[in-house]
Symmetry: D2
Subunit: 275 residues, 4 copies
């Protein structure tokens, strides 16, 4: 990730920490007041949707915060009502759902790559504001983020995926075709914004040329738009344990040998101490 | 996480990096040879199941690697065949499924906390080896890890959850009751191991008194047991883009202002450069 | 069922037969032209929703024609977007889905029995026409039937359920409370019709004081509104079988003894002959 | 259906009636004592699985009694553990599930038509008794019926499907290929019986050369094997309604005109009277 930000890792971690604390408090508020939250992550390929979602997921309880990254629809799903397979994943009380791409596929990749007809795009752009108003009227808190980056940056990130074996899985065949269609994506986005940027479900565009700064910007925006989420931590009675704490002991099988550490580390004492 | 390991963060990152690379290659092998992999994570509360799963999840494609952390069964599920709701999540070809707790709940928390009868535990311990043999006979690669730690360490980690607002969600009401039952958990584990540690689906115990070392130990073990996963990266044709790369430009709405950085960082140049 | 119709069973069967043939042809058209059909059955308790659905189901391929009769929502579903659990069952290409009660529960039983707030009913009546227009715009063929009967008839049918052990399961605790609320149901229906009887998704009311006549009326209406469904049966090559047809023979276990028939029937010859 | 039985429709109805009453009582017992019941229907093409299932379904509450008729597995399902997609449909407390074909596909149609390998059949026959023992040990009541008929009868029924437009949907492309493989099906059945006819989950073969008699035989057998299901009907308080029963009246829209009946029927009085 280095080479992609003004910030080094330590600086980023320091700036993120207080925001993560707020996010954690917000999640507790969502849970205790039984809110339902939907976050839609859209944007350029390589812009940083996955990394942004991870930023949330690392802080939150996975039982509360679900990430929905649907594969291409199967043959049967392709014939169903377009919104159907997304609706299935909407949150119940107390949940936050993070959509890694969403129903907006139809106005983006499907349109640009020719996977649907112009009429289908038109129908989608007409239906979507109503669909989203239904969710908002029902009390769902809906946030839609679109992550931007310049083509030069996108190319560099694509090449990183090409050459870095650990990133190679991110380079899908569609990415490869899509890299020459930067301008078409821009046009598609503008049409999509014109049709679906509404009072009740506005879009937020975030510059992700610098991914770490982009993530901080996005999270700060989200936190500012869900105010008054401060609830006191409930008190928990925590009596002393009686007796000497037990040690692990094994009869059936033993733990496997430890990972071999460099000698100078191995000989250190392990002192558990979180303060 | 500091205070819980002999290793500082940088050392851990350095030791993890080559393993992560191997894991990434292994995942590519799983995908291309259409394997199905199940990893079961069980162990003491606080031992480090979640962190271990994250170690995998951060490297892997979320569309390939699913984390299954089921909530308590609802009323209807409670009356179904015990294994039913877990079976639903077994992997299809090319997938890795990580169970954050699993069907072994019945032999652990359910037994110790009295949520099921002794007969149900007995029936479970009898059925499980056959159930798992079915999966293994069907070609599923099944790995079962049990994460150990001493009670003193567990207590310190519980207290960290108690006092750290960001960790508080990890402190479930069951945890609080369970902390006095360390020995009962040990007994339950030994019975469970005696009944379900089989040739075709053995358990692996890993010492997690030092969580970072525990994670390295677990991952090294896993990598060593899935050998010959080295496949060459496929060649991808990557022609130069024609013309000057485009820049983002916006007509409907603009990106929001960037997160305010400290001045000395703000004035740095952003140079994208991954090498 | 006798005692509930001007028609005796034979007469009903004779009148139904040509309609059933048309329905069968219509289903073939749905399948071959990949239509999606939704039939909503609403109406008075005891009016005859179940019997009407059976009339369809007996003719149709159960793999093509699904009956959706959802139980009360569980605790989690109760907090989800109201339409969510119904949307899950919408048809894919070539399918007909018959809703035995539907999303209209909110404007009927839930309203009358006080299971939801007035605001929820209002929100429902506002959202539903848009929701249904989305389905219709997407190409789904949507039919909404409301089955009427007088209170006197309803009472007689309730009493039949009370006294007839085979019908007792139809008498739900809600039925029992609902029988005194005939007028409230009328009022609720009128409000519902005023809000949701639209050009694109009109309601059809059918008199079910005579259930057999009601079913014929409903089916005739449906058939008339889906015109031009006549497709020729495809030709199938059907060569003679070679050799003498085989008889069943058993080595491991034998069929169980036949049901004991009255003697005069038993001695009849079984002559298979469909002409 | 006539032409396929010694019994005429009236005789069949008379013989069925007392059995249907018993079935209805049994279902009440299943519900109140929270049993789980699985009925597997296998057998020759055309033998009468669908009609037998209908015999049950017409008596039972569709919310209690689910019919599971799975389509061919999709591409993803084909790579999952073979039993997985069936297990999903196993009953919860109080439910009866009727499988119209089942996991035994692998030992029947898949084997005979070459849709799976010999090794897969072998693995299936080895795994199935254990799988079923798990269900039975868990308390599920499991009944397995195999419906027999001679090839001559099968041919006549196929031809009926060929020539009768309303039955044409029952004639699948696989049927057409399968009709010449009567003997292979016999062989496959015998192997299947030899491997899976167990003490805890025995097969019951029923002669369906006469379909109506076959259905009576099957149902009688089932009723006899689930004894002591007699529970008294609960008393329900049933006060008189106050006031004159209301009649339907309509403000928004009126019911559609009634189906046109033959004149001599039309002029009859409708007298509701179930006694």
């Amino acid at each position: 990730m280095s080479g992609d930000s003004k910030l080094d890792k330590g600086e980023y971690a320091d700036l993120l920490k207080p925001l993560a604390r707020e996010l954690s408090a917000l999640a507790r508020w969502v849970s205790e007041t039984r809110q339902r939250v939907v976050l839609v992550f859209e944007g350029r390929d390589t812009a940083g949707k996955g990394g942004s979602i991870d930023m949330f997921a690392r802080v939150l309880n996975p039982r509360q915060c679900r990430v929905v990254a649907l594969p291409s629809p199967n043959e049967r799903e392709r014939t169903e009502w377009y919104f159907q397979r997304y609706i299935e994943h909407l949150p119940a009380a107390g949940e936050m759902v993070l959509f890694d791409r969403s129903w907006y596929n139809r106005a983006g990749v499907e349109k640009v790559m020719g996977y649907c007809t112009d009429d289908q795009v038109k129908a989608f752009l007409k239906a979507t504001p109503e669909f989203e108003r239904h969710l908002v009227d029902d009390g769902i808190l809906l946030f839609k983020y679109w992550l931007c980056c310049d083509q030069k940056v996108q190319e560099m990130r694509f090449e990183n995926r090409l050459h870095n074996p650990m990133k190679r899985w991110k380079l899908s065949p569609i990415d490869i075709k899509a890299r020459t269609k930067y301008d078409e994506y821009t046009k598609a986005r503008e049409k999509m914004l014109a049709a679906t940027h509404t009072d009740f479900a506005p879009w937020t565009l975030v510059d992700f040329n610098d991914q770490q700064v982009g993530r901080l910007t996005l999270l700060r925006d989200f936190l500012d738009r869900v105010p008054d989420t401060d609830l006191p931590l409930p008190d928990i009675d925590w009596p002393e344990l009686k007796g000497k704490p037990a040690k692990e002991h094994f009869k059936v099988i033993d733990p496997i040998p430890k990972f071999r550490l460099p000698k100078e580390i191995e000989k250190r004492d392990l002192i558990h101490n979180w303060d």
